[in-house]
Amino acid sequence: GTFIQAAEMPIELPPLPYAYDALEPKISKQTLTVHHDKHHAKYVTVANGMIEGTDMSGDDCETIMMKAHKAGNAGLFNNAAQSWNHAFYWNCMKAGGGGKPSGDLLAQIEKDFGSYEEFVKAFDQAGQTAFGSGWAWLSWDGSKLVVDKTIGAGNPMTDGKTPVLTMDVWEHAYYLDYQNLRPDYIKSFIEHLVNWDFVAANLAKVKK
């Protein structure tokens, strides 16, 4: 749904999949408003400005991101990847989310991490040790699920992996609500926000 692009159209700023106050009190209305309407919006605007009049002006966000990476175009990569990352991130959360997944997704997590608890530990550590601005990821590497952290706009697709879940750990994602307490934000994300339905759908799609 979110990534369908018509020909010759710029990258879209998708609306949030929920109301701005839907994730309260774990993530405030103020945070989502600034994060989506300012940060995410700016990446989209800048990326569109950069691709205008180029042969990428009809490409979707993911394609632009990968072309920019291949070309070593850091400026375009940063903005296109951040556009993609944020659109993906919004869908990775939902009101009343979090906790343990079920079905095939849980089975795969248990297979690849030993247990759900071991996955949580790895994902938490990835988020905590992204030394600066970055993202924690759960991705399919072709044969199993793996946890990664990236710095800045980094996305595991540049390593040939397929993301199924991401968590933004740039300070703007949590500072208004958690200040320096990134570990508390990560805990909230894992326990109360993760949209496992979206993650399960992503995994099913890539395993097909």
């Binding site: 700016k42 970055g134 710095i151 703007h172 320096n180």
Partner: protein, 237 residues
Amino acid sequence: HYATEADRIVIMLRQSLRSASALRSAAKTHGARAMSTYALPSLPYDLGALEPVVNTEIMTLHHGKHHATYVANLNAALEKYADAEAKKDVAAMIALQGAIKFNGGGHVNHSIFWTNLCAPKDVVAPSEASPELAKMIDAQWGSLDAFKTEFNTKTAAVQGSGWGWLGYDKAAKKLAIATCANQDPLSTTGLTPLLGIDVWEHAYYLQYKNVRPEYLKQVWQVVNWKNVAERFKAASA
């Protein structure tokens, strides 16, 4: 009382030997202790001194939480490093270098930063702080305003977390504007730090939100050119 004094010395010597022996066995079982521990420096002013440019809430968190955490984590990483060294575990030493660079850099950078700032009422112009420094800025950028514009443009453009710096190139005997990512210290560029502006979001977000350029515009009202001049004098000596 000679006998008592001699006894006292013997007792002290025995105690030292016991302590040294205890330390040696502790070192064997628990690994060596780190050479030194680092401490959070005090702010040279009250938490509210930089209002309204940088508010009390930000200063409280920035100094008391963020910088304090870099110090604590640096000390912890160095303890582990000493332990790894004692065990000759090179792989473990290498694995710790990221944490040492990050937390050590954070400590170095913020220690400089606090001294680079002062209350608005205590700010003096560069020309007053150091005519030599002011002349060099004019020579290299045309004017103080032109310098600030370039500094702000480059610093605003830092992707994600990092710092903007005015540094001194000792070899070329020139000033230079540079930016660094994350907590990489300016020393990694070969420049000597004179003035650093933190553009991690934690440095400004509670007040300025996403509008980093506004923070950069305002922060010059609290730049302590006297301190910058001192650093310049030391670097260019």
